[in-house]
Point group: C2
Chain length 477, copies 2
């Protein structure tokens, strides 16, 4: 059986055992996994394992894995580290194939005892055909299988996979991405990676029809050459976003305390990005930024960006940010400027680029004419509309125009016949509760309608520049 | 009379005339200035000037400045650009000393007509003793004088002055800063600067007892050598934050469309920062970040930072960000680690640095012991506490602990006997409306209590690093 078929069984198990679930749990652990399986409607067989209980959460509890009525498709291990080696041996005897070791306390502690336990489980795993996720990790989060016993409740399934040595990152990402319409095929928190490696998961995700984009959070890397080759291959059809952490001196020390990994050298990773064309990211927010771009935008053909904003100082800031992110902000053609000047007055505005015209933010008709003219300018390859969001609640007439322009933006982007990427940045330097609330609502409105919208200009410019770089890389292959 | 005394009269006028106020205003302009003066409770005499009306907003309206009953301390000009030269001549005849030209349509348009008008008013101004703010700007925003006819309503007066070639920047800053307890002495939007120059305002602010810190937004610069010398001098006692925009190719073009300024060269501005010790900033948010640090922190003595956070991947991200911002994240001493290990268990946590321990976020007792031990570690000069904010509303017991830890943080920082700077970053990668709301509330709670709190780790690390750099500069003088 090919390795990917075998892993299918792990991502879509018919039965799950939770070793270390407890009737009286102290702290976060096995019982949370168990209870959330039930709560989220997991349909397969669920087996709590604990020698000290007969029933947990209404389910019959088993003394050990050997006494289970069937070898479960997945065993989740949440018992103290010193007991893990024997449990792995028991799993092998019982014919278990897939194991997730949640337990921490191995080499990442930096202590002698942890390192010894680590060596012991590594030996057991490598001498068996056990497929092991972890240890020291949150494991699998798979909406399609209702394996979502950590992180935010699934709001749907989608095309983004996350492969992460940090479970916290996966958890936070579910709570950030889903409200913006970015849903997941699989999230894999694989921690210290003493069994399955990045390469194994990547091979699986490469052929997984549910997965359209792959985000990776790496602290260390085994088998770097093969991973590089594989990511280069995958990235041609499924964009791969790679967050490599620990490349600073302090970060490298933190990596060794977290997953016991060796962070590697900055130079090597620069070569990795150059060779693979993978999109470099450095935060969870940026993973979502990139996912939104790849989900909704037509392919990029150039770096010449139109900036449509409001406010002179703000226009300069926009242009500076875009320039620093490697985007060009060229002058519009004379023809476009003359047309714009017919309905945008000269004083207090600018129709060069950035186009600084409050009326295009506030008046639906002006907005439409401005966008149509500028998007189709031959000097322009892509558009950032810096959409101003403030509290309009005290002026119903203005709020109605604000809503109308937002609807028109969505309609325009949906029908975008120019096939040029158009994205929004949400401008709102404002700490009033109403404005902050409105900004979040508008952000969700745009993203849920399929328009890449970003919480500030820097995110927007950076995402667009990296999106363009992806297509530049493809064009050179 | 010294120049600064003369300017006092402009910042604190006993009478204001608004030329171009209208009984039936179209668009934003003179009438807004007039009406907001009344609304905000300005106590001096207010004179609308417009030949086409006899009463505006309940006030007697005058045909022209020459017919005013007294030479007003400040004349606000909001009439079309072609009429401005003659009005300036009339002001000189009437003995007016202080003028704010709101009107735009001069050299910033890049058109021949604007340039000619610009030359004309520049000649009039330089041949008179008129003190002119602008043109093409919002003018003065002075809470102490109730001259706050643009921007957010004043919530108080404070120690931050803003000198800005962009009025929009001033406006947004009032709506961002004040809710975080950062209040202003003066905001000066000076646009194209054809009359009073940066140097004039800086000389005034240098001796202004209300002003404790000065933020500058510059697009261009006249008289660079004198400004550099002056800022170097001021910065020794009043920290000066300087945002120089337009240093990228696209930004420079945008600057010329905005205020018609020449943006200057990047190299020259690097020398400016090195020579003056001014704090380089590049956004409005960063101005507030720096103000919070200087308002509340004891002087910095070193770059060795303790990071207190939760989550292993997050700890690595914190360390990477700090390293990139030039901060050190050294290991804690063995003695501190042994003490921490007495109440923070090894598995799933780290007590090296970053200190990764969810219990210190969640349990008031653990928080206190952790902070006391780590802050006083001899390897540590300053602290960033990455405070995790999520929605706790569904769990009253947890919410109570969350509130308790927040109160304890405030108490600890207030009594901070270590005299080491302690700042907070608010960690909340989360787009749920409740969490976003809670994060804003917590942010305000901390900042209004006098604790520098930042919306994310990058802002926190960057602000702390620049704060430290300021004291490093002073130490070298």
């Amino acid at each position: 059986m090919p390795a990917t078929r075998v892993l299918d069984n792990m991502f879509h198990p018919q039965s799950v055992a939770v070793v270390g679930a407890s009737a009286n749990p102290a702290g976060w652990g096995g019982s949370n996994f168990l209870n959330d399986l039930i709560k989220r409607g997991y349909q397969g067989n669920v087996y709590p394992v604990n020698p000290k209980a007969s029933v947990i959460s209404g389910l019959k509890c088993y003394t050990d894995v050997k006494s289970l009525p069937e070898p479960p498709d997945l065993v989740i291990i949440a018992i103290p580290a010193p007991s893990v080696p024997q449990l792995l041996r028991d799993c092998i005897i019982r014919g278990v194939k897939n194991v997730h070791i949640f337990t921490s306390g191995f080499s990442e502690t930096g202590e002698e005892e942890g390192r010894k336990l680590d060596a012991e489980i590594t030996a057991i795993i490598s001498n068996s055909d056990l497929r092991v996720v972890g240890p020291n990790c949150m494991g699998l989060w798979v909406p399609g299988s209702k394996l979502t016993y950590w992180g935010g409740a699934p709001k749907g399934a989608g095309g983004l996979a996350l492969l992460s040595q940090s479970g916290g990152h996966g958890e936070f990402l579910t709570m950030y991405a889903q409200n913006l319409g970015v849903y997941f095929s699989k999230i894999i928190s694989f921690g210290n990676a003493r069994g399955l490696q990045a390469i194994d998961y990547l091979e699986y995700l490469a052929q997984d029809p549910e997965t359209k984009m792959i985000a990776c959070y790496f602290e260390g890397m085994q088998d770097g050459t093969r991973v590089t080759q594989l990511i280069k291959q995958i990235n041609k059809t499924k964009p791969v976003f790679v967050w490599k952490s620990g490349l600073t001196p302090s970060g490298a020390r933190a990596v060794s305390s977290h997953t016991g990994s060796l962070a590697g050298e900055s130079k090597i990773w620069q070569a990795f990005y150059a060779q693979t064309g993978a999109v470099p990211v450095s935060s969870l927010e940026e993973i979502v930024d990139m996912a939104l771009a790849f989900m909704y935008l037509p392919p990029a053909t150039g770096r010449r960006v139109l900036l449509l904003g409001g406010g002179g100082g703000n226009a300069v800031a926009l242009a500076d940010i875009c320039s620093r992110e490697g985007l060009d902000v060229p002058r519009l053609t004379e023809a476009t400027r003359l047309e714009l000047n017919k309905f945008i007055r000269l004083a207090g505005n600018s129709v060069r680029n950035p186009v600084d015209a409050w009326s295009a933010q506030d008046m639906p008709e002006i907005f439409k004419k401005t966008l149509e003219l500028t998007v189709n300018d031959p000097n322009i390859d892509a558009v950032i509309f810096d959409r101003h969001v403030w509290g309009e609640e005290d002026n119903p007439e203005r709020k109605a125009r604000f809503d109308q322009v937002n609807n028109d933006i969505i309609a325009f982007c949906k029908q975008n016949s120019s096939r040029k990427p158009i994205i929004l940045s949400l401008m709102g330097v404002n700490t009033f509760a109403d404005s902050v609330k409105l900004k979040l609502e508008v952000w969700q409105k745009f993203t849920l309608a399929g328009i890449p919208a970003y919480p500030n200009t820097l995110s927007a410019a950076r995402a667009l520049s990296k999106f363009i770089a992806y297509y530049e890389y493809l064009a050179k292959q």
